[in-house]
Amino acid sequence: MRVVVAEDSALFREGLVRLLTEAGCDVVAAVADGDALLAAATTLNPDLVIADIRMPPDMESDGARAAAAIRARRPEIPVLLLSQHIELRHCLDLIGTPGFGYLLKDRVLRLDEFVDAISRVAAGGSALDPEIVQALVRSRSASVLAGLTEREQEILGVVAEGHSNAAIAKRFGLSERTVEAHMRSVFTKLGLRDDGSIHRRVTAVVAYLESRARR
């Protein structure tokens, strides 16, 4: 997998490049700001872009802006954003779109999960940090989710993170059929359409949560 890494902290960048290389990725470029990222992504055509949200020159949202620009010019390039803490405002538009992920930086230390997340994103799927999903879930009024059972709420969150039914079943120690049943129940209660595809589920759930978050 050919990866472009954008991160202004040299320490973190080098560490990330090393981890990715050891995990079998081919890091074709490691840059330190948004403009260089946009240039590298459009010329090198990588399989995945991993970018820090906060980068020079403005130290606010350069990474997120570059990601949006990449998405506009090359929609087929998957993008994974990293940040120190949750900043939803810069990337609300990208959340829930195919081939997009957003993780807290400390997730890279959970190597297996991180590699799983980048492969999901690279494959056109989704990977959202549990905290981001929580932020989305929290920001909607409690009564709407009150109709869901506790287990259903848990499953809803994990779906939003971008995991497959199999992964969900494994995590909760359930059979895939049980997970399926829960999913149908959740979708019925929320009034969402479910055609069984993981990606569309993620999109539907995230769009649902996000539409509440924006109110």
Partner: protein, 618 residues
């Protein structure tokens, strides 16, 4: 009434010529004292010319010049009659010259009628010149046609004289009527004439006293003559050209006050001397000494009393304005009014709605809201050598500036208190802004510095872990887990320093508060205008602090949080249905300090048993 400038110049020139002729004629007839008097008349002519040059269409210049010119005309007549131009003409001129003296008053009459701006107020006063002229003609005919002042000519004179007098009286009365119907400016100008007239009257009385006291005639009356020929034209000149130069109200009021004080203390002295003499049946040094002592004792109180009373009458505007400001200052001291109202009070007192008050802030000026203002011209109030405040006027004149200076001086305390309060508030604001910026920097340092390095170290450990097995691998795993915990810890710390949720705006940050609160929180946030960091942080902290208080003390079952935009302001309200009776101090004090330091207000309503309502307006 305006006159054509060429006419004004012609009239003034003819008066000048007459004065010159009379001086020359008097010199030829070797009557130097009269010549000197004529020469003194030059003064009125000169000032007449000054007015003609400065205000070419004003009738006052020619009228003033003719005050001397008409005297010069009569003077030349008299001199001619006395034989200055030879015997032949003398008899003829002498015959007609008998009745020409009312002409002396022609210039004065004109001046009384046209001063200060030539406008007539009241139809009756147009009668004054007609009456005067009729009288003058009758007198002229009566005295100039008969060889003997008897029969018909005498009747003419007897009919003419009262008319001449009536004309003059009407003219003088017209001045008073005009004063009552005039604008402030004309009144100011008329007061100059009043001042000169009073001085002349005082000098005349002085002359009588001196004459009775045995002074030679010329010495007794020369101050009076000087007053007529110099002071009156001078006062008229100032009134027309530079009425604003001196504070006529103060001069009049203070001058009159001193004259009255002198008269009163002289009366006291005389009464004391007389009284002591009556008691002791003789006049002794003791009597005079006691009288002097008594007079010295009462002099100042009398003067103060007289000055205040006169100021109230003569200098009424200024007196009332200063009183109003002093009254306001007293109310500020008593705590009944806010010192910041001083600008409005000054506007009222000054009668200048556009007046603005600037306060000194180091080298710059700020208005009462603390906004920087341009360095504008104005009346500066100084405390010691440092400027305190500046009053900027929209109607600028020397008089307005003097008035503003007096008012600002009366308002010194409220102005200084406003300035100090403002500078305190501004420095508080600066501190809060600085601390908000500092929090932000600290949070960023944590995120971009420490956290990144810990993560980098963690990644190195992960790399290292690849080559390890068994116990060592487990050891590294434990170390990495430890680092992950540390990063989470740091994130929480940074969040406490300044909630990075605020990066997404106040509403999302409050959503998090709601989500993290174990009680049902009903949150209503309006569409808010863009908030600066300080206000957003303050609003956020008000909510978190208030919610924490509710959880700790209120035993409430629900909390209502509303955030509304009220014009420029932001209203944050936290209401619960708990036990109420929140104490005024403790964490509420800290909250109030925080809110007031950014120029906001905090209201707490907490009746026992009926919940607590905290509202901050930022």
């Amino acid at each position: 009434m305006r006159v054509h400038p060429p006419t004004a110049r012609l009239l003034t020139a003819s008066a000048t010529l007459l004065v010159a002729v009379s001086a020359a004629v008097n010199l030829m007839t070797e009557t130097p004292s009269l010549a000197a008097l004529s020469a003194a008349g030059v003064f009125a002519v000169v000032i007449g010319w000054v007015i003609v040059v400065r205000l070419p269409d004003s009738p006052v210049g020619p009228a003033l010049a003719w005050c001397s010119g008409s005297v010069g005309l009569v003077d030349s007549f008299d001199a001619t009659a006395a034989g200055a131009l030879g015997e032949a003409g003398a008899a003829f001129v002498a015959r007609f010259g008998e009745g020409i003296w009312p002409v002396n008053l022609l210039g004065l009459l004109a001046l009384l009628l046209v001063f200060p701006d030539g406008r007539q107020r009241g139809r009756l006063w147009t009668a004054a010149p007609v009456v005067f002229a009729t009288g003058a003609v009758l007198v002229f005919l009566g005295l100039g046609t008969g060889d003997e002042p008897a029969g018909a000519p005498l009747a003419l004179v007897l009919a003419g004289l009262p008319l001449v007098g009536l004309g003059l009286i009407l003219a003088v009365a017209s001045v008073f009527v005009r004063y009552r119907r005039s604008s402030e400016l004309q009144r100011l100008q008329l007061r100059w004439l009043l001042l000169a007239g009073s001085v002349v009257a005082v000098l005349l009385v002085g002359g009588w006293v001196a004459e009775v006291g045995g002074a030679p005639l010329w010495a007794a009356y020369s101050p009076f003559i000087f007053g007529i020929v110099v002071l009156v034209p001078l006062a008229i000149g100032i009134a027309i050209v530079r009425h604003d130069l001196f504070d006529i109200d103060r001069i009049l009021s203070d001058g009159a006050a001193w004259v009255l004080t002198l008269v009163a203390s002289a009366a006291v002295f005389a009464a004391a001397v007389f009284g002591v003499g009556q008691i002791l049946h003789r006049y002794t040094a003791i009597g005079s000494t006691a009288a002097a002592f008594l007079t010295a004792l009462v002099l100042l109180p009398i003067h103060r009393f007289v000055r205040d009373r006169l100021a109230r009458v003569i200098d009424r505007d200024r007196f009332v304005a200063v009183k109003a400001v002093e009254e306001f200052a007293a109310q500020v001291r008593a705590g009944r009014r806010q010192p910041e109202e001083v600008e409005a009070v000054l506007r009222d007192a000054q009668g200048d709605p556009g007046l603005s008050l600037l306060l000194a802030d180091g080298d710059r000026w700020v208005d009462l809201d603390g906004e920087y203002a341009d360095d504008q011209e104005g009346v500066t109030l100084a405390g010691g050598s440092d400027p305190l405040a500046r009053v900027v006027l929209t109607h600028v004149s020397a008089r307005a500036r003097r008035r503003a200076a007096a008012l600002a001086h009366a308002a010194w305390v409220p102005i200084e208190v406003s300035r100090l309060r403002l500078s305190l508030r501004r420095s508080n604001e600066r501190l809060v802004h600085a601390s908000a910026a500092e929090r932000r920097r600290l949070e960023r340092d944590l995120h971009d510095g420490a956290q990144q390095r810990i993560l980098a170290t963690g990644m190195r450990l992960r790399s290292l872990q690849r080559g390890l097995v068994g116990e060592q691998a487990a050891e590294v795993e434990a170390a990495v887990t430890e680092l992950e915990e540390t990063v989470r810890e740091l994130r929480r710390l940074a969040h406490g320093v300044r909630p990075s949720r605020l990066d997404d705006g106040l509403a999302p940050a409050l959503e998090h508060v709601r989500a993290a609160t174990p009680l049902p929180v009903h949150l209503a946030v309006d569409d808010l205008p863009a908030l600066d960091d300080t206000r957003a942080l303050t609003a956020y902290l008000v909510v978190t602090e208030a919610v924490t208080n509710v959880l700790k003390h209120a035993r409430a079952s629900r909390i209502d949080v509303t955030v509304r935009a009220r014009g420029e302001r932001l209203a944050v309200q936290v209401r619960d249905d708990g036990v109420g009776g929140a104490p005024g101090e403790g964490s509420l004090t800290a909250l109030r300090d925080r809110v007031t330091s950014v120029g906001g207000t905090l209201t707490v309503t907490s009746p026992l048993g009926r919940g607590t309502d905290i509202e901050a307006v930022l």
